[in-house]
Subunit: 366 residues, 2 copies
């Protein structure tokens, strides 16, 4: 015979009502928070750390993994300092499936934000096998472990480089992809194709939200994050800026790019996560400002921000570089409710401040 | 003080003259024979076994590795029976680097003929991750071990599927690649790109022939090997042939393909190997007959060869199928001195004979 005391029933009711309250009054991810974490691969890196901060501030539980090849634990110390939380951080490599399994056993993962990978265009041309192994092999390894643990949600750091040489501007998400001119770009393109194929193959189960067997994947195609430029137009920390080509068909002859502040980029990931949680299948979004600035305009903005001259020299065009590339970012605004807010001046100010405070990067003095 | 007796000197001279004789009068690969082997991955498979037979008959030492997922040791027993040699065969998987290293330690490998990989178009659509892991991950693993052992020569089984939907016919090697419609085809395309990038990155050393650090890679793009059809137009062993689409813009409305006899294909590999031995960098060749036959023509030829009716039914077009696809095979004739010799009738006769003698394939009755 089941006997339920009045007080117990009331207690149960109270908890039930509290849950209803949570689900109606607070956002869905805040409810999810209690039930699992967002795994950020490459979370100790440049875009990774900024995104971890935004995720923690939006109320998510976050777990970081990073092989620390291009990052240091110092960056995670700062993340913990800024957020006031201790973000669990695993120093593991994507290719080490046993280490991945250990992480997935220790933490219930709801979604993977996948930043990990090598990203230097020039290096990728010199060491293509390393890039294919790390980026493609690593992603396959990660996807296999995700499937083993029933995790079917991923937000992937892709790049506008997948568009190759633009056939029209601004570039929207329907622009053809492929035709990448370097191994780094190809790894981004290949991973996109792998993820699309998996989403197509593993049909949605008839359940709400992130049902088992149903992949939700958001491919975020970054334009030119300031401070980390996969397309190689570098600023700062250089005695002299080399401008590759001043005879392009652009207002001042130098290449035009869609520079984006890393904080805007990080917030785009949080917006994508909220979108993914509703169950989205495979979706692609540009993350850019929609505005193109030339290399010279960028140099001038950096001069204004730093109060120091940025001398530059003109060099010949580089193979594979394109004249202009900027985003049609309207889809992200419409679907994700996200829009880049920070302008070129702010990007340069923040980059200058960071570089002034961290002349040797994240490395601690030894 | 060095004392060389007359007889020793003469002996040395004799050996030296013999070597000169070998190098001038016999072909280079016959000289190489004594110094190492050709590793055939997937060598127990359909195209693999036929190529092993041709290689052995051309005088090469051959080592086979196969994970036996789509093949059996029975096929190697037959190869040994036909050739009268015992071809060393390793039952290992490409992803098992330790097993690969063991093979490379036991046998000096001069060149890898890389057939291994999953190849069913339909299955690849259902299990993309398995295909990417096996084909891409397996090839990366193989390439890494090759580099460890200083082996920089590869002949890769690619496919005309990399051309996607033809923009012109016949398709020559300059036709654009990419735009593949299924994961199987994408794995072929991705591997081609990986191999091209490696050849570009690791510059030729100034030495003759296959110098250390200099990759020689031949990408062989098969059209439609009879008996194994990666593009899915199947004949034989079926009670009824399903013809997918009879409303294409072709003479009889059914799809037109460039069917090629597996023995021609195998001989194309031997020709490619002789070409590669001269030091070729990265080269691409179509292996096709240059002639297109419709599915209906193929069915009629099979009827003639078998003396049995081949009933067929018309079904709708399949997604991703193209109307016509046939090769411009002139480059292989010019550069490799290779040309397909066997016609459609012969292809059908041989396929029919093989199927009649092997109703259950290579499996032995249990």
């Amino acid at each position: 015979m089941l006997v339920v005391s009045h007080s117990n029933l009331m207690f149960g009711m109270h908890v039930y009502l509290m849950e209803l309250h949570i689900l109606s009054d607070k956002s869905y991810q805040e409810h999810k928070m209690a039930t699992g974490s967002i795994l950020v691969t490459g979370g100790a890196g440049y875009v990774g750390t900024h995104t971890v901060v935004e995720l923690v501030e939006a109320g998510y539980d976050v777990v970081v993994m990073d092989n620390l090849v291009n990052a240091s634990m110092e960056s995670m110390r700062r993340v913990n300092e800024i957020t006031g939380k201790q973000v669990p951080t695993f120093s593991i490599d994507m290719l080490d499936k046993d280490a991945l399994r250990d992480l997935f056993r220790k933490h219930k993962i709801l979604c993977v934000m996948h930043f990990a990978g090598l990203k230097a265009v020039g290096e990728s041309c010199n060491k293509p096998l390393l890039y294919y192994k790390t980026n493609i092999g690593g992603t396959i390894s990660l996807l296999e472990v995700m499937k083993e643990f029933g995790v079917y949600n991923m937000i992937f750091s892709s790049s506008a480089t997948v568009y190759g040489s633009p056939s029209y501007l601004p570039i929207d998400e329907k622009h053809p992809v492929g035709g990448c001119t370097n191994p780094y770009g190809k790894t981004k393109y290949f991973i996109e194709e792998i993820l699309k194929d998996i989403c197509t193959a593993e049909k949605p189960a008839r359940r709400l939200r992130s049902a088992v067997g149903q992949w939700n994947v958001v491919l975020l195609r970054y334009f030119n994050p300031i401070g980390e430029d996969p397309q190689g137009v570098a600023v700062g920390r250089l005695k002299e800026l080399t401008v590759y080509g001043n005879d392009y068909d652009t207002p001042d002859g130098t290449g035009v790019r869609d520079y984006i502040h890393v904080v805007d980029l990080a917030q785009g990931h949080v917006a994508a996560l909220k979108y993914l949680e509703k169950g989205c299948g495979c979706k692609v979004f540009n993350l850019g400002t929609g505005k193109g600035y030339s290399v010279i305009e960028m140099a001038k903005a950096f001069e204004a921000a730093s109060g120091k001259p940025v001398p530059y020299k003109i060099a010949g065009r580089r193979a594979g570089d394109i004249a202009s590339c900027y985003a049609d970012a309207s889809l992200a605004e419409k679907e994700l409710g996200w829009k880049a807010k920070l302008d070129l001046a702010k990007m340069c100010e923040d980059l200058w401040r960071w570089q002034s405070n961290n002349p040797t990067g994240f490395r601690t003095e030894s």
